[in-house]
Symmetry: C2
Subunit: 585 residues, 2 copies
């Protein structure tokens, strides 16, 4: 063993003890008579002291050690003269007798400190150095703890962790599947799972009753918006349950996690909000309910008054920003610029200042009366001093733009407190989504989601109106998990495939084994999957999932540390019965 103690555990009670420590040199300070070195390991930092008067040779040796050298020291614990009460080891230092250099270090390409000077590219190339920084270490410690607590909680609730295969079946539908050529079966391919969906359903058919797995999933797609080609899910399934049972069970999991990991007590049941309400009041299906500022529909009062922009719009709606009536022209111009960005997509912004003196000032004064504005203000419960922001256009797009504007205002008004956690369930999702390009319905979640029993009859007459037994858990505007009650009836599943435009042959080829399984006594079942990376980053207060993954890939799906993906030798492809296509000229 290269040490008797770690760099995080010695304190005043160890004074006068002979110890051996090993670690990295965080920094050293040469004060002439004395040299101090901060020795770092995963557990903390301990100060090493060298005295020019009592041991000049050793002190000279210490001065030559560079940052990030790995050393082992023998010495005696002593009380410090100037104490640092911010760290557990801050009352002591080690009077060193002997130094052994275990490994040298070149000067790192960026500083290994809390806040580094390295850009993301270089930090990813030298990830093993970036991982030494406290924020990365803390994020991965948090991740470890969250994984442990998830397993502990679910195991106590009788969930069994079962490993499902990584090499599964490639399907024509799986346009975003990674495929894996098989050497033993040349010309044939496995696929990597986008989720263990069918396997967990088969486990329910197999009577496993409660399953979970913290599991890697894979998706080969453009990595816009903070995604990774491989990501981790907390994947769960239960038999003999209805939607309410699933929601209660996993509300329990998330409350447990907040309690033991964050010391945050989430009181009472999580609010439930229908998809329709989320879309109409928040402009998206993952509402951030840390703050109000709900969207109001003004169509009935704003249209038909001669303002052609409103009159020609399907929908007019707005939000009320408390206390923003004093916004300057410049601030309002910036908001206009914001909403007219292509990503937001509004044509323009109408604002109405509800002045402190009770009067109104607006961009559309000449089309509407003070009385009109009073009526509108009442719809928002607006008070003098508020600012009403209005968008108009096609309904879906305008609601979406208002949702984005609402979040922007929330951010500007500091309403997005990272220490506040506002969870809710979004429920009653539509079962199907119409795709205008493909001219057919797609499953909004996946083809195994069960319709609400009372809506099943509409599957033929009005498929777009059928609601699903599907649910998302949303926290602070982040969709952390989602799931559904599944279809367990073979006939209904067949009908569903038909509605989704599968031929019988396609359905059989892709999901025959599942349909077959349903013939032998499939229990009612349902489940949920949480995005573990996302959940950890939410808990950590970090914006990117890359910061909670030890070895992430960049936005092009590349691991720039190991330089992967990369070419493979022709011989290897030969063995797989494959060749690269010639580039067309």
């Amino acid at each position: 063993m290269y040490r008797t103690h770690t760099c995080g555990e010695l304190n005043i009670s160890n004074a006068n003890t002979k110890v051996v420590l090993s670690g990295w040199i965080q920094r050293s300070r040469d004060l002439g008579g004395m040299t101090f070195i901060d020795l770092r390991d995963r557990y903390g930092i301990t100060q090493l002291a060298f005295n020019m008067d009592t041991n000049s040779a050793l002190c000279e040796q210490a001065r030559k050690l560079g940052r990030e050298f790995v050393i082992q020291v023998e010495g005696t614990v002593a009380e410090r003269h100037s104490k640092n009460l911010k760290i557990p080891t801050g009352e002591i230092e080690i009077i060193v007798d002997k130094i052994i250099i275990l490994n040298k270090s070149e000067i790192p390409p960026f500083t290994i400190e809390e806040d580094t000077d390295g850009g993301e590219e270089i930090r990813m190339k030298y990830r093993y150095l970036d991982l030494r920084r406290t924020p990365m270490l803390n994020a991965l410690k948090l991740r470890h703890k969250m994984a442990q607590e998830t397993r502990k909680y679910l195991s106590n609730e009788e969930f069994m962790e079962v490993e499902t295969p990584v090499l599964i079946k490639s399907t024509p539908e799986g346009a975003r599947d990674f495929v894996v050529p098989s050497r033993m079966n040349p010309g044939e391919f496995y696929a990597l799972p986008q989720s263990p969906q069918t396997f967990k359903q088969l486990l329910m058919v197999g009577g496993y009753d409660r399953y979970f797995q913290i599991v890697k999933c894979f998706r080969d797609e453009d990595l816009r918006a903070d995604r990774q080609p491989e990501f981790t899910q907390i994947d769960c399934e239960m038999a003999f349950v209805e939607q309410e049972d699933v929601l209660n069970t996993f509300e329990g999991l998330i409350k447990h996690m907040f309690r033991v990991v964050m010391n945050v007590e989430l009181e009472g049941p999580f609010p439930r909000m229908s998809y329709d309400e989320a879309m109409s009041k928040y402009g998206n299906d993952k509402p951030d309910i840390r703050f109000g500022m709900k969207i109001r529909d003004l169509s009935d009062v704003a249209k038909g008054k001669g303002f052609v922009v409103f009159d020609n719009s399907e929908f007019v709606g707005g939000i009320n920003a408390n206390g923003c009536a004093e916004y300057s022209r410049k601030q309002l111009d910036e908001l206009t610029k914001f909403v007219t960005k292509p990503q937001v997509g509004a044509k323009g912004l109408v604002w109405i200042k509800y002045n402190e003196d009770g009067t109104f000032k607006s961009t559309i004064d000449k089309f509407f009366t003070e009385e009109d504005f009073k009526l509108w203000a009442a719809k928002f419960n607006a008070k003098p001093g508020d600012l009403i922001l209005i968008l108009a256009g096609a309904k879906a797009q305008t609601l979406s733009a208002l949702g984005t504007l609402r979040l922007e205002m929330g951010s500007l008004l500091n309403l997005l407190d990272k220490k506040v956690f506002a969870p809710l369930w979004v429920v009653d999702f539509p079962l199907l989504e119409w795709d205008e390009n493909a001219k057919r319905f797609f499953a909004m979640h996946h083809p195994f989601t069960s319709p609400k029993p009372e809506d099943i009859e509409k599957l033929d007459s009005n498929p777009g109106d059928v609601r699903a037994n599907a649910y998302d858990m949303v926290i602070n505007g982040v969709e952390v998990g989602g799931g559904s009650i599944r279809i367990h009836d073979q006939k209904l599943q067949q009908k569903m495939f038909k509605t989704l435009g599968f031929s019988d042959e396609d359905a059989e080829a892709q999901f025959g084994f599942l349909m077959n399984a349903f013939k032998y006594g499939a229990p009612p079942h349902g489940g949920i999957a949480f995005g573990f990376d996302r959940l950890v980053s939410l808990f950590a207060g970090l914006d990117s999932i890359r910061d909670v993954i030890a070895f992430p890939k960049n936005n092009n799906g590349r691991d720039i540390m190991i330089d992967s993906p990369s070419k493979v030798a022709k011989e290897a492809l030969d063995e797989l019965n494959l060749e690269l296509k010639k580039k067309e000229k």
Copy 2:
């Protein structure tokens, strides 16, 4: 919720309680006046009772229910007349008021009982039904528990579970790598890891100090023996340790597992045996030390006496089978047949019976005297009544054949008790193995294994004699884990690559990132990986790892349930810039 209780929890204390249960029909018995149904779920079996006299309609309904139907029943808990004290619910039954059929079942293709009538092929095709059988359920429960306990133990020992990537770098050396074409980077490939070896070493460079992961690994090779293309490892690494620290730590893990999972206390430190001793005394590097019957070298006493077979052999050795002197001609012929099978590879078998009366009888009586045999017997500590079995030939092959014969005799003599667990460490492995075909050395473990410091100087002069800081944990003749202290010095690692015949360019292309990492303060480190599937099957007393994997593949790497691997559409290959090679005619 479809139930108030599970089928495993009701007992006499619940008498007269109204309950709702859901589950599968295990079997039903129609006794004329009464019909009984065993209702099964993951937690147990509860008897349902239907009385023709009191509710004939319901009883008629119950009689029509087939095996494996999924039903929900409402009823009242009542004390049974004829109790079954073998199961926890055996004192009660449910007097049923109402049956709801949740799902029907066709007649399963094999009987879902403890011992099924289904062959392995059909059981794998209908794996979801096979999983309903108690032995499968128990194996997966055990697996879950072992995973949980591994994580608990290692977390308490300050190990952090860190997820390493599944999509890594393909290397020319990785002939058995699965490769994964990247859609975003056409013409380039990821590889699936055979182990997280380099990543865990990078975590040590990153200061993580103690890492573990229960992780899927992949190998694309013929699945002779009992292998799977994807398998699970308990992968571990520690910094600032020497071999002794690693052995002690993981002895602790395995002892903990035996204690809490099997209720078996493994006393004292595990024995350590050198590779040389294992090879010379047991004929292989994973000795089963549940029994003795060690191999003895007879070369010095058996050669030079005129028996040409011995005289022309590099090596003569044998084992002593206690109490087998009475073996019949037929039994001895069978042993001869066994050792001359191609897999064992001996040319023939020489036997010497040490008769109860102190005389000897042997196949080679005419070449050796009674005095010779006495001397040989003394080498084995043989007693009258024993049977000495001797093989001769090239040393390595003969030792190996003797090792196999020893295990066969152990099996015949019932010395391989599955309830006895005999762990040991095999240590001091050679660092390198000479490959006669390739005319070069290969790393016996992998190229990151450190040589013993005292042997480093032999790396140039006599590489085959260099021993490694490598170790295997062996239990009952099964290698359950193996690992090594790693090289942490960049120069030594470079020398190692050179010894293994890597050009500088190849070493750089494949492991440049690791060599680079070693420049920035790599600590001394080492680790181990346990084959989790193997460990579970050992604990479960099962011979095949397929029996402890929920959805295994067959010997051709096929999942016959989902019919994978399979063809993919040309369009999918186009996107990957790949095409299947035309078959040559």
